[in-house]
């Protein structure tokens, strides 16, 4: 008997329950209810976000697959396509940081190779609370170790990403994992269950009791009972996934299967119903045949288990033997558990009895969609008012403090725990704005970047959304890549709160505007709501994963200065914009003000210009100005140069000195050029209606930045480098 308590445990409302009864024409038994609770969870159904996601542009001439599949696909020429996607694993990573993050990696990789692509890149966007807390440190240490443990073992390079710190993530860290793979354009596989009578094969790891209710857990706020949720977190086995990856790709190369779907969130339930739904068929499975690693599992547990490293395959009868042989060569199970049927129903047998018999479309297509109430949050009125701030008395000190703040400081401590070189495609550009991965047997490369500043979206979600797109594209432009596709991970609080819904809507509109300006399609992504613990929500945090194309890998450009005596040129202009900056947060301890504004047309001109001068081989380095402003950007280019080359820059803008140094005005890139190339660059800039000015020279062993006649910053490169480089290792040093 289903009562109110059971419904609550399954995170279903009474209205939803009544709809289920109506749709299936009977009272569901507990297994059937479990199936609905998973598939109708926010995580699986997107019931609160659907109506808003429609605003994102999804079309483009190179789009092979848009949203709605395991991953998006973009044509990259030479008969190849890039398959990519980003997913969150926030909730599990807080409860069990190592396994939560590790299985996040495993899950996103399955999304990629399910479609026939060999994964070649991983990136992660991580958000933690301040490292002054031991708990936050241990979460970060666990998450990084989990990503490292899984990605390194399976042999896919984790080439970058970003890490930000903010109080709002103390009880809700974010772990967003991006993966990209390459597939031959005509060899893409889909989650299809076509052909009545075709057999359903279960491949990979055995089913256990882990991860039951994982998706439901990710669809509710956390309270104080976190310890009890630990069993909801799955446990990853990267070795098993490596075998599964190789076996699946081998099977796919031989044209033996009809369709394939990974068992990620909602495991057997999701894979069976989705495959049937997409093909207008039904599926019948017998749970007694499912490989199990624990005894006495109930149908409920088996259908809801989120054990990792499993796949469901539909194959023609006469090919099954060959499929099984390939899996057996990799020492993997490949067991026939059922077949494709007529009638669009999911039927599950257990112990000779039918334990589930429900229409597939009720589970997949008929989940309620909510247009939730939205309301401007009340915090905005005061938070956007930034009172007049005093200028720092000592700019050198402020500069060093900013460089050593964890959000800006070097992340080598993280990066070197990841194998970022395996597969020998990672172009060596230390600390580059975007990672560059060459495509073997071509002159091309793909560039990938993840971006999203939640300070901006917190204070102005729409502008924050636009900037997230613009800045990611700017990162690509700096290495010489043109954006070709977007995937996004939208991390927000509880959508049942109208203020959160408002943040969400606004952010989406900002992202949509940004994507339209750059004419790049969104090919999919992930929405993670309910990032609230004990009633505290995270800042709205959209993370944009943007993929770019490099036509000639020989021309890629890095952020580090090349040599002494090069000319420093600033593209764009410095403005008096200090609101929502890292400077105001770190030096003045305020998360306030109006974020920098952005003119997308101007932004686009600057990026086009950057790409043009890279292709003309006119520049030596390019680095975008972002968190920490111009001073930080210049310093980083010095730190990332081979010889730790210093610089001497002079700015003449008639605005506050701290805004010149640390303001985060958008649409700025610092480039260097040698010889007389700067003349050509300035002439061309004029022609292209791009603001460009010589601001100084590289050279020496000091970082010197003046404003008008006043020397504001004058520190040895070594000293600044130490502040930037040692900040994070010192926090984690074993004492």
């Amino acid at each position: 008997m289903i009562d109110r308590k059971i419904l609550e445990e399954h995170n279903l409302t009474l209205d939803e329950y009544e709809k289920i009864v109506e749709l299936i024409g009977k009272e569901p038994n507990i297994t059937e209810l479990g199936i609905f609770s998973l598939m109708w969870s926010e995580h699986c159904s997107y019931k609160s976000s659907k109506v808003h996601l429609r605003h994102l542009p999804v079309k483009g001439k190179n789009v092979i697959q848009g949203p709605g599949e395991n991953a998006g696909i973009i044509d990259i020429g030479d008969g190849l396509a890039a398959v990519f996607k980003i997913e969150s694993h926030n909730h599990p990573s807080f409860i069990e940081p190592y396994q939560g993050a590790a299985t996040g990696v495993g899950g996103i990789l399955r999304d990629i190779f399910t479609m026939g692509a060999r994964p070649i890149v991983l990136q992660d966007s991580l958000r933690f609370g301040p490292l002054s807390s031991a708990k936050n440190k241990s979460v970060m240490e666990g998450v990084v170790a989990g990503i490292s443990g899984y990605g390194n073992s399976i042999g896919i390079p984790t080439v970058g990403g970003d890490v930000y710190f903010n109080d709002c993530y103390s009880l809700n860290p974010l772990v967003n994992v991006f993966a990209l793979g390459i597939v031959k354009k005509d060899r893409v596989f889909y989650a299809k269950a076509e052909g009545i009578g075709n057999l359903v094969l279960y491949v990979g790891a055995k089913t256990g009791r882990d991860g039951i209710h994982g998706a439901t857990m990710a669809s509710a706020e956390f309270g104080k009972d976190l310890e009890h949720k630990r069993p909801n977190v799955q446990v990853g086995d990267p070795f098993m996934e490596k075998l599964l990856l190789e076996a699946c790709l081998e099977v796919m190369a031989k044209d033996l299967i009809v369709g394939i779907q990974d068992m990620g969130a909602a495991g057997l339930t999701c894979s069976t119903t989705e495959m049937a739904s997409k093909s207008g068929t039904g599926i019948e499975i017998d749970l007694d045949r499912v490989p199990q690693r624990e005894e006495g599992m109930t149908p409920y547990e088996m259908m809801l288990s989120e054990s990792q490293e499993r796949m469901l395959i539909v194959a023609k009868k006469d090919k099954v033997k060959e499929v099984q042989e390939i899996f057996s060569n990799w020492d993997l199970d490949a067991v026939i558990i059922g077949q494709v049927t007529e009638g669009e129903r999911l039927k599950v047998e257990f112990g000779g009895k039918t334990v589930v018999d429900i229409p597939v479309n009720a589970v997949i297509d008929l989940c309620p969609v909510y247009e939730r109430e939205s309301k401007i949050p009340s915090y905005l009125e005061s938070a956007t008012q930034l009172e007049p701030l005093p200028q720092p008395e000592n700019f050198n000190q402020a500069f060093l403090k900013l460089l050593s703040s964890p959000t800006i400081a070097e992340k080598e401590w993280v990066r070197r725990q990841y194998d970022h070189m395996v597969q020998v495609n990672t172009a060596f550009l230390p600390g580059a704005d975007a990672s560059v991965i060459r495509i073997k047997d071509t002159n091309k490369a793909l560039a990938v970047t993840l971006d999203g500043s939640s300070l901006y979206t917190y204070l102005d979600p729409k502008t924050g959304g636009k900037i997230a797109v613009a800045e990611a594209c700017r990162n690509l432009a700096c290495v010489g890549a043109r954006p070709i596709g977007v995937t996004n991970c939208l991390n927000f609080g509880n959508p049942e709160k109208p203020e959160i819904m408002w943040q969400f809507q606004e952010t989406i509109h900002g992202i949509a505007e940004g994507c339209r300006a750059f004419d790049i399609p969104v090919t999919g992504g992930n929405v993670s709501f309910y990032n609230d613990t004990e009633g505290i929500s995270i800042h709205p945090t959209p993370v944009l994963g943007i993929v770019g194309m490099v036509d000639d890998v020989k021309l890629i450009t890095g952020p580090g200065f090349k040599e002494e005596g090069n000319i420093l040129i600033l593209l764009g202009e410095n403005k008096d914009e200090l609101g929502a900056s890292e400077y105001v947060k770190t030096i003045h301890q305020k998360e306030k003000g109006i974020p920098p504004q952005i003119d997308l047309e101007e932004e686009k001109r600057i990026q086009e210009f950057c790409l043009e001068i890279i292709s003309l081989e006119l520049i030596e380095s390019a680095h975008d100005v972002s968190e920490g402003g111009l001073a930080t950007c210049l310093a980083e280019s010095s730190f990332l140069s081979r010889e730790k080359t210093g610089l001497n820059a002079n700015l003449r803008d008639e605005i506050r000195a701290d805004a010149v140094l640390f303001g985060e005005t958008q649409s700025r890139i610092v480039i260097t050029s040698k010889g007389q190339n700067h003349q050509k660059i300035l002439d061309l800039a004029k022609d292209r209606k791009v603001k460009a000015a010589v601001i100084g020279k590289t050279g020496g062993e000091r970082i010197i930045i003046s404003h008008g006649d006043k020397k504001l910053i004058d520190v040895p490169v070594d000293e600044a480098l130490k502040a930037w480089r040692n900040a994070i290792p010192e926090i984690f040093a074993i004492k």
């Binding site: 390194n152 073992s153 086995d237 490596k242 070197r416 725990q417 194998d419 070189m421 597969q423």
Partner: protein, 229 residues
Amino acid sequence: MKFGVVIFPGSNCDYDTLYALKDVLQQKAIFLWHKEHNLKNVDCVILPGGFSYGDYLRSGSIAAFSPLMQEIKEFALKGGLVLGICNGFQVLLELELLPGAMLRNKNLKFLCQFVHLRVENETTPFTSRAKKGQVLRIPIAHYDGNFFSPPDTIQEIKTNNQIVLRYSDDQGQLSEDANVNGSLESIAGLINKAGNVMGMMPHPERASETLLGSEDGRIIFESMIKWKG
């Protein structure tokens, strides 16, 4: 020269090594499957990096029991060239074709970074193209690369001039900082007494093209090619 690159379940530098040999160095190179008992007439066997069998036990310990390892052991004892890279080095230690063992890196974290290596012994088949004291820039990527052995073993290793590569700084100076994983005697590459089986933690296949940041790794493969003549 025909190279054979062994694939264990969980190998993940198998394709990289084959790519460096075939596509970059234009050599004959084939894969050898761990379940077979056939070395297919290769002149040299490479055990590539990765996480054989997941390395859930000691790194490399299960791979040492793979069917093909019998043939490889015989091949090595007859003087065939065997190079173990990273996980391959760990497998060679487990097989006892090389002395010593690997501990966790001294900072207890996985380390993926470029390191500098000083060539200590240029008379081996794996370093004959290098000069003694030459500094190579090649990346490492491992959790367990902290070489260790008992005092009498290390004495023997030194007496027999078995240390081939040591972690150093870019000037070839040894130091605690340069010895990133904490290896005894800063050992990065070690050869057997007979001089035909070498293990090295750094990945030469990852340093065979300028695009990847260094070409220094080619010296190892080119030395082997030259040795074979």
